[in-house]
Symmetry: C2
Subunit: 478 residues, 2 copies
């Protein structure tokens, strides 16, 4: 009879240890500690609030991007349908009609739905895609999810069949991809985006990644494209998208198109968004495509509801049935997230009672984000040793910072990556939490950080970034 | 340059093919097809509605267990806080106060929360556990989840370190466990519950399972106990629970206690529930324990919100940090589910405005479930060739059915397990969808099915089960 041994790290799945997710890593944990400390009267910190610029979370406290009223009114009625009778004047008529229609289709938001999501909502998503792209879409190919992350994670787990299978990911990338690959014992095959060309995607770079992988005995299974980019905000032009599709044809790669920022376009006339579904359909390409979308970004910013979808194109019914089986083990995506998806794909139309307010709210969000991004990029670019691509999309900037040998040495002594060291000092001095570039990937010897463009008091916010940088540069030289 | 090959099943992670989840399997898919067909005028089906008794989904259409008004009122105000001013008379004062308190703590339900869940709600969960058990509980050990399933799946994925590590699961079991084990290449180590003793858990059976596993080269890492049982409804007595804890001590097993039905007690005076947290605390045992709870069952039945939590006991800070890292990749559990957890652990108290209604609603649900279960068990037991333990807990009955050689032969010819054949005929003839015992596990040569006790028109419902069984018996002999 053996003595009791407590569970220790070496008893765990070793892939758990390999997972890294910087967006909620060391910096975010320290930011939380500071936030708690600020509640003490004598906190002794040189700032009075923590700004969590590490994550695209528009509605968080302190940023307070208001939710779209229409979405929340529908959701409130779905929670407690009796309100339509108890407080009829509190709601616009189109909201009451919408909620009633959803109730008839769904029943209670407290019930499990179909594991792929409510059929009616999937039909509405298909219509939205058809209107966006001008090509057919079927609800049978659409899976509603708990945010895009849940779908990405599922697809990667299904595609990785052995440690020697890999998935091509952009560098820099959103670390969900490397984290999920580590978790499922897959290999990340990096391809670099080109910073001097505003973070352009180059098919030659992807081809190089593939050849390197094959030489190393890794089988590339899929290609991840994040468009608009995260953290870069870059948009692919259609010619590049066509080349990407041809490359997927040549190498029989599944294309995983992360398009969650498709609505966050700051200069749509020069940097428009085209979905890969549209490109693949127009080309009549046979490649397997999975496109991800989410209610967490765009103008809805409904991160907390956990809603999203993915659409499968050229994926066989046999594999769709397997995806369905896998999602059914998790029962269903949250109904409140599903309803959020419905509101996103069916916003009020011109002439409907809620339209004016909806238009005003969404315009305000678009304009604020575009102008903040522009201002922040300009101010960051004016700093010594900082260069920053002015993102045409998404919610972030990803400035490159030159760090002196002295700063790099100080970082080594502190046991940190140099950009993590910079970001930690920034947090310590200003309460602003960003994510160091080492969390997203960057070329050897380069340093970046990702910062969100969500803070309402942008002048003060970017002012803090500026004065910190000047102080840091003074201390460590340039 | 290779020609494009479409993605086919053999390119996928092979563990995906091994996953089985009968609760939403063949029967459920056929039930959906019938539900769609019923919308045609000339459907030609011998029933006019499909009853999805395959899944514990109390609020689904047709069953329509009403949600708890308090929960939904708070949720509606969280969705659209302006309602408190726009329609103040629609809400009880305690609801308005509760929503205001939550808004101050959480901010918007559209924002990501802490990845472990909102700290304030975790504090409330800890208080709830302390009051339930009489032992300390810390919010630092509590993770809010998207239903219990998400937590179970995460823990299993972390514990399975190689194909030769295994987890002890009861037979019959809720197939989430075998599905998740298959997905993560772990081995299910079965131990049988004792049907003649009302599905009792026997530590000797578990010990046998362990010895068999070790002989087969499998390392047992954890023990799953479902209490109250699913599909059996059985409750462990405290003496057995203590023996289970000692067994975990002897074999250094992590105890995974699935306690999602802790509130569904039909005869609490003779079959009370004691949490494993209480037993482990009282014994001062050092075993690692993870206890799961959910808002999907109990009296709330809020499956669609995807809310739940797990509490870790005797799990080291190092491992808690790894769990935190893993949940952070998924960002956070749905906020509307988290709010549902808050309402579950902090229902209205006596003297508060919402208390009377809450009491009436929850009493009604408890009584309806207890009386339906009793009636259904009695009627099923009266049928030839059926024996059914009268469940003291949970939402299900798991009758054993004798099947004649002729029926077994007919099933073989149809390429089905005999109990799946029986369940398919039941669905074809009555529109009632149950899950065959082969989905949960049973002893060789025995046949069962799981049926929920949720249908409001129970006389008609059980009448259909009876007349189908008599017809089936007549056709195939006994």
């Amino acid at each position: 009879m053996s003595a009791h041994r407590p569970l220790s790290v070496e008893h765990l799945n070793p892939s758990v240890l390999k997972v890294q997710y910087a967006v909620r890593g060391e910096l975010a944990i320290k930011a939380e500690e500071y936030r708690n400390k600020l509640q003490e009267a004598d906190h002794g910190l040189p700032f009075d609030r923590v700004i969590s610029s590490n994550i695209g979370n528009p509605q968080q406290k302190g940023l307070d991007q208001p939710p779209i009223t229409f979405t929340r009114q529908v959701a409130a009625l779905m929670e407690w349908p009796a309100l339509a009778e108890l407080a009829p004047n509190a709601f616009p008529q189109d909201v009451i009609a919408r909620a009633k229609e959803l109730q008839e289709e769904i029943g209670s938001v407290g019930a499990y739905s179909h594991s792929m999501g409510v059929p009616f909502i999937r039909k509405n998503v298909a219509k939205f895609i058809e209107e966006r792209d001008g090509y057919p879409s079927s609800p049978d190919n659409i899976f509603l999810t708990a945010g895009a992350s849940a779908g990405v994670s599922l697809l990667i787990s299904m595609l990785i069949s052995a440690p020697h299978s890999g998935i091509l990911i952009p560098i820099p990338q959103y670390p969900l991809y490397t984290a999920t690959l580590a978790q499922h014992n897959g290999t990340a095959i990096p391809y670099h985006l080109d910073e001097p060309s505003d973070w352009a995607t180059s098919v030659d770079e992807i081809e190089t990644g593939i050849q390197n992988a094959i030489k190393a005995g890794i089988t590339p299974k899929a290609l991840v494209i994040i468009n608009p980019g995260n953290p870069t905000g870059a948009l692919l032009d259609e010619a590049t998208q066509e080349e990407v599709v041809k490359l997927c044809e040549r190498h029989s790669l599944i294309l995983l198109a992360d398009e969650v920022y498709q609505l966050n376009l700051h200069r749509p006339s020069t940097h428009p968004f085209a979905s890969f579904k549209k490109i693949v359909s127009r080309m009549g390409s046979p490649i397997g495509l999975v496109s991800f979308h989410s209610i967490s970004k765009g103008v809805s910013g409904e991160c907390g509801r956990r809603g999203g979808y993915f659409e499968c194109t050229n994926i066989s019914p046999e594999i769709l049935a397997l995806i369905y089986k896998m999602v059914s083990v998790g029962l269903c995506p949250p109904l409140t997230g599903q309803i959020g998806v419905d509101s996103m794909v069916r916003p009020p139309k011109e002439g409907e009672e809620s339209y004016e307010l909806w238009k005003k709210e969404t315009d305000t969000i678009h304009e604020a984000l575009a102008s903040r991004t522009k201002l922040m990029a300009a101010k960051l670019n004016a700093l010594p040793g900082v260069s920053c691509v002015d993102s045409p999309g998404a919610l972030y900037l990803y400035p490159q910072i030159e760090l002196s040998d002295k700063a790099i040495e100080a970082a080594r002594k502190a046991g940190k990556e140099p950009d993590a060291f910079y970001a930690l000092r920034l947090l310590d001095e200003t309460g602003i939490c960003v994510v160091p570039g080492s969390g997203f990937g960057q070329k050897e010897g380069q340093w970046h950080y990702r910062v969100t463009c969500l803070c309402p008091g942008v002048e003060e916010y970017v002012g803090k970034l500026e004065s910190f940088h000047r102080g840091f540069t003074q201390r460590y030289g340039q």
